[in-house]
């Protein structure tokens, strides 16, 4: 082998080596996949529920860990309580923010008010740890216009008794709940009769224009600050406690746990309201989270991730997704295409399989992969799906390229006595290179397009802005993802065109 390598100034060598490289990859494929899954599993994964406060606290936890030198990722808005809890139990995430009241009722399924210690003891049995409360209680509250409350001298819920004329607008949920309006009215003997059910968002408008005077709200709702409202003190402690805490897997690395504990007691309602307001104003959770650090540490003023930083992050992730899956497609597709080029039943089966993969709608494919044990909600799943989508063009073009080699040249190669493998390496594959590369290019572009769907399972990339844009019906945000994706496709095409010059032998381009 050494000798051959020395003879490298001849043109056959580079060619040979180029293709050899690709196939060496083939051999290390299992190793690569393993590395990837290690790599993908390594950062601490923080989940959040689908509402502002949960997002913001997720970002705070992420930055706290990052500042402690612990790589962490934040999977935003994964779902509701049960989904997050199961994800935590199943190890798909390591940390998420929860409220003590919710833990007691929905997770531990008890009617009693539990103390923090009781909750912690119960959770520990299931392998989940809990921090001390962060400092704010996000429960129901009754709110009023600040000036009105001052004018009437109302500070507590009990004070409402003196003003039976006040119009009260309540959400249907609050009207219905076991810990809602009816028992509250009883507990405080409230005299108001003028009660209407009203949508939560509309309620704020009604409150502002005076159609109603009192409404229910979450105690840390950003709207309280925005609309200059005041929440009435629950002097009988009627509402259950919903203290915010972080839940984490007890198997989490110690330094990460320590970091989380450090957050306990650092956020009161007023501050949380401000952070929520900031998040809703800027539509940027990172900015809001940074506000926390700014005030807490008095340290450098870091603004939230700028557009360019986000773009860089999306691009890297997108490249990672599309690139890695393309690599897999190439390494699998070319050998399959070689087999398929021989025709026959096996060939038809291979082309059939690759075709069927291409047919399964991306949504359905993701839906089918996610429940499987190895996959789940992970980058692995996204890469696997993309890999399957990228297969067909490569397999088919490899096959048709090989079949298009003139018979006289195929026979020359045979007559020379070249071993079948050498024939493939040195003659057939280089001669089919144009067709194969054309398949790879198609596949690359398809992968870049489909990778935008990876955001559906939280794998990131340009799909992130596209999806939130679609949700918010905000065209600018869609374009923030769509334009870079299109540009990336162009860049990839052009770089492949350069690759053409290297990989398609000069003798074929005369």
């Amino acid at each position: 082998m050494k000798r051959i390598r020395k003879a490298g100034k001849e043109e056959i060598q580079p060619l040979f080596r180029r293709f050899r490289i690709v196939f060496h990859f083939c051999a290390v494929l299992p190793f690569l996949i393993f590395t990837c899954s290690l790599f993908c599993a390594q950062p601490v994964l923080i989940g959040s529920k689908k509402f502002t406060e949960s997002y913001v606290l997720g970002e705070i936890a992420k930055r706290t860990l990052n500042e402690a030198g612990i790589p962490a990722e934040h999977r935003q808005g994964m779902g509701g309580t049960i989904i997050l809890w199961e994800a935590l139990r199943g190890g798909q995430i390591d940390i998420y923010l929860e409220y003590t009241g919710t833990i007691a009722q929905e997770i531990l399924k008890t009617e009693r008010q539990l103390s923090v210690q009781e909750i912690r003891d119960a959770l520990t049995k299931t392998g989940v740890g809990m921090t001390e409360p962060l400092g704010f209680n996000n429960t129901y509250a009754l709110v009023m216009r600040r000036n009105e409350a001052q004018r009437l001298g109302i500070r507590t819920i009990g004070d409402l008794r003196k003003h039976p004329e006040l119009k009260i607008g309540l959400t249907h949920e609050f009207l219905d709940r076991r810990d809602g309006w009816r028992p509250l009215r009883q507990r405080y003997s409230l005299p108001q009769l003028n009660i209407i059910g009203i949508d939560h968002a509309l309620g704020y408008a009604a409150l502002a224009n005076g159609s109603i005077d009192v409404k229910d709200a979450y105690s840390t709702d950003a709207k309280i600050a925005e609309n200059d409202l005041v929440s009435l003190v629950d002097d009988f402690d009627f509402f259950p406690k919903y203290d915010a805490v972080f839940l984490f897997r007890t198997s989490l690395r110690d330094d990460a746990i320590a970091g989380l504990h450090g957050l306990a007691g650092t956020l009161d309602e007023a501050r949380m309201i401000r952070l929520n307001a900031e998040a809703e104003r800027t539509k940027n959770y990172t900015t809001a989270a940074n506000l926390y650090f700014q005030n807490a540490v008095g340290s450098t003023v870091t603004t939230g991730e700028s557009f360019w930083q986000k773009l860089a992050r999306w691009t890297l992730r997108h490249l990672e997704l599309a690139g890695f899956s393309l690599l897999l497609s190439v390494m699998t597709g070319i050998p399959l295409g070689i087999v398929a080029s021989r025709g026959g039943a096996t060939g038809n089966m291979i082309l059939g399989f690759a075709g069927v993969m291409q047919t399964v709608p991306s949504l359905a494919l993701l839906a089918l992969l996610v429940p499987l044990p190895f996959f789940g909600i992970s980058v692995r799943t996204a890469i696997t799906a993309l890999f399957l989508y990228g297969l067909l063009p490569i397999v088919r073009n490899t096959a048709s390229g090989l079949q298009d080699i003139p018979r006289s040249l195929r026979e020359s190669a045979i007559a020379l006595g070249l071993a079948p493998a050498a024939r493939l390496w040195r003659i057939y594959l280089p001669m089919a290179s144009r067709s194969i590369l054309s398949g790879i290019k198609t596949s690359a572009v398809i992968n870049i397009g489909t990778a935008t769907l990876a955001a559906l399972i939280g794998a990131g990339g340009y799909g992130e802005p596209i999806l939130s844009g679609l949700n918010l019906n905000d065209h600018v945000t869609i374009l923030e993802g769509a334009i870079p994706a299109a540009l990336l496709a162009l860049v990839v095409q052009w770089s492949f065109d350069l690759l053409d010059r290297i990989l398609i032998p000069k003798g074929l381009r005369l």
Partner: protein, 247 residues
């Protein structure tokens, strides 16, 4: 036995017509056997069967005493040099890479390859500076010489040459013929040469095999063919060639 290759009752038919009727042929060690005959009589088919680009329908072919089968053919091919009628040069490789392809594959030393290559260029009057060109950048005659060099590169035991000099000008051709004949004689090279040029056949051929319509019509020296023709076709064929020599 003195035959390097021995064909016994070999037949071949393509979809619509027989290309080779039962044919026996032995190629003697150390000699040059020349195959001549009208266009389409089955000469190329015979060569392609020996190197097993196509399998015979029936009959056996022995090489050096053992029968050629699908299993052993790949190794045997290393001992055979074959110049295809159309050249068969790989367009993605330069002339040099085409010639050295097999030598590299078999990991010959650089030194050895370089020497052999110069030898061959000299033999075929091929300018060494054209070695870096791709086939599409060569003239017809140049391509033919590259094919010939590729076949000769490994000094094969058996040379199968399918009209190797067809596109060469008289100057190169005359000296190449002379040199080749000398080398063949010196190395006792076993060769099966297809040509349509009776003069060339006479010059090279220790043994001449005249074929017609898929059959061997007569086998012997040029004198045999000229003076003891097996049938009228033989004399007709020989005289046609003669009438060309107007000069």
């Amino acid at each position: 036995m003195n035959a390097l290759v021995q064909l016994v009752a070999v037949t071949k038919r393509y979809a619509d017509a027989p290309a080779l009727h039962p044919t026996n042929l032995s190629i003697e060690r150390g000699k040059t056997t020349v195959l001549i005959g009208p266009s389409g009589c089955g000469k190329s088919t015979l060569l392609r069967i020996i190197i097993r680009l196509i399998a015979p329908d029936s009959g056996t072919i022995d090489f050096d005493g053992s029968q050629i089968t699908a299993a052993n053919i790949d190794i045997l091919r290393h001992r055979i040099g074959y110049v295809i009628q159309e050249g068969g040069l790989f367009p993605h490789l330069t002339a040099r890479a085409n010639i050295l392809l097999m030598a590299r594959h078999l990991e010959k030393s650089d030194e050895e390859m370089r020497t052999r290559l110069s030898e061959l260029c000299e033999l075929t009057r091929f300018p060494e500076n054209l070695l870096a060109r791709y086939p599409l950048e060569l003239s017809g005659g140049q391509r033919q010489r590259v094919s010939l060099m590729r076949a000769l590169m490994l000094s094969p035991e058996l040379l199968l040459l399918d009209e190797p000099l067809g596109a060469l000008d008289p100057l190169v051709r005359a000296s190449l013929q002379k040199d080749l004949k000398e080398i063949f004689a010196r190395l006792r090279q076993t060769t099966l040469l297809v040509t349509h040029d009776l003069a060339e056949a006479a010059y090279f051929g220790d043994e001449i095999v005249l074929m017609n319509e898929g059959r061997v019509v007569q086998q012997g020296s040029i004198i045999d063919l000229r003076e003891r023709p097996a049938n009228p076709f033989v004399s007709e064929f020989i005289n046609a060639q003669r009438s060309l020599a107007v000069l």
